[in-house]
Amino acid sequence: MKGAFRGMAAIIKKEFARFFFDRRMLITTLILPGLLIYVVYTLMGSFVTNIAGDGNYSVAVKNMPGSMEPMFAAVEQFEISDADRDDDYYKSQVTEGGLDIYVIFPEDFDEIIAFAGTSGYVAPEVQIYYSSSADGSTAAYSAFAAVLDAYEQAISNVFNVNTGGNYDLSATSAATYILSAIVPMVLIVLLFSGCMAVAPESIAGEKERGTFATMLVTPVKRSHIAIGKIISLSCISLLSGLSSFLGLMLSLPNLMSGVFDGVDLAMFGAADYLMILGVMLSTVLLLVAMISCISALAKSVKEANSYIAPLNIIVVVVSLLSSFLGNPSAPLYLIPIYNSAMIVTDIMALAVSPLNFIIAIASNIVYAALLVFLLTRMFKSERIMFNR
């Protein structure tokens, strides 16, 4: 029995040797994807932060009403200074960017608004000078106007909505929601590109170079060649996928810091990460088996890549669907790729059902096994392996 698997072990070993001893391949499939994703997403995050500004607005206010002073003092973002020079000076400051906004209240603002609601009342005007070409200035304008609005609402109080207290009943934060929408699609696309980097080369490439036939002359069983190839290619693709996933997860806090805080990877436990690993493994097995079967049909790597292109599109669309369709029923977890994306969505939303998890993993493994059987049949077919 041991001898029977020696050929399979030799093929696995050879595929690993082909990959791990090739520095170029190692760098392009294992190190670069993770590194690139980390760098690109971190840069994107820092751009977002820059656009939002550092969060502090310099504001010059003329005639600050006594009633509003404590309100603005409470907002940490505003660095308020009293305007004691003439208007033109401050306006030019706003234009040149030395100041975010310049606000002018009427001199006796508090006295005027005390008569609000009486007949003959003329509402006083607050002037806010800003520069629409500067992002910080626009943001400061909106923030200042929002405070004024809130004050206006407060003094003409007719009714209140949600003042004080926590009314959000969701158990999870918005961060988990965003994670559960982005991560599954990106993860599956990354896994797919990991498989694409190795599988066509190993099947169609060997066919193209005539090295596959050399293996077919030996007494190793075709099924052992198929299993050996799928196992080794899956391991390599998984490593490539893990590298990308690591880059993605590590860059998420940087990517989202400009939008909101609260993305904390520590909210996922070891069990969550293990489940993700399980999904990734079963998905990679399936993807490698699919890509290998298609590659076996092709005469060259180039041809294989063009055959696989439509599959790539299907995989992207199907994994995207998981973010749109909420709460699918258990049988839907039998749909390949979609089930993987759904499970990752569930894990990210901290709402995974054990039954669905098992259905997804088991069905992926069954599909992969069926494809290995198909691949064996293809390796036995002289029309597929030797037709030129």
């Binding site: 001898g3 005539g210 090295t211 030996t218």
Partner: protein, 258 residues
Amino acid sequence: MQEILSVCNLKKQFKLSYKQQKLQHTDKKVLTAVDGLSFTACKGEIFGLLGPNGAGKTTTLRMLATLITPDSGDAYIEGYSVVKQPDKVRSRIGFLTGELKLEDFFTPNYLFNFFSELYGVPADVRARRKNELFSRFGIDRFAEVKLANLSTGMKQKVSLVISVVNDPEFIIFDEPTNGLDVLTAKTVTDFLLELKAQGKTIILSTHIFSLVEKICDRVGIIIDGRLAALDTVSAMTKEKGLEDVFFDIYAQTAGGVQ
């Protein structure tokens, strides 16, 4: 003499695509590559298959090596059928052809070990054989150089050594000296004679008359997938050289050289 190979009425047809039909100026949808071929080879002999390009030599050898299956007929190597027991046949033969390539990325040493494992050669036997064969062909000097960096001659030596990695009793060589310089070609023919001296059976396809005259015991001339003549080389060349004999036979069967 013990019969090691027996080929019985072997037939193989290939479908022609529309493009191939146009290229070959024919309306036929099917090309008969091998048409009812029968012959035998005995232990310890070198059997030559001689014929022009496209005669069906390579197709015959590929069927014997179990890479493709015959449409009808069968061949038995050491009593095992190439159709029904391909796994048994594969473990008993060596096959060398220009079509079967070795991966450029690996070294001769790695490839020898890899194929030894595929054939299930025990580690101690493998080490001994590697030593013998590598020093016999001078591969030990470049055993750790990637194939991509070797010359054509060096590569052919590595292919030769790997084709006999399992120490087979029956070896198939498809045009083994094609594209080689005279020195490397001589190394190959010397090795074939050495194998014969060890009692191995060799079947060899070629279109080089001198090679047949020099090393083959018997020769079968294939024309259009059929065996046009079969005899010992000495009997066939009793009156004139093999080349003239071949042209005579060709003129009789195919109606002269075009």
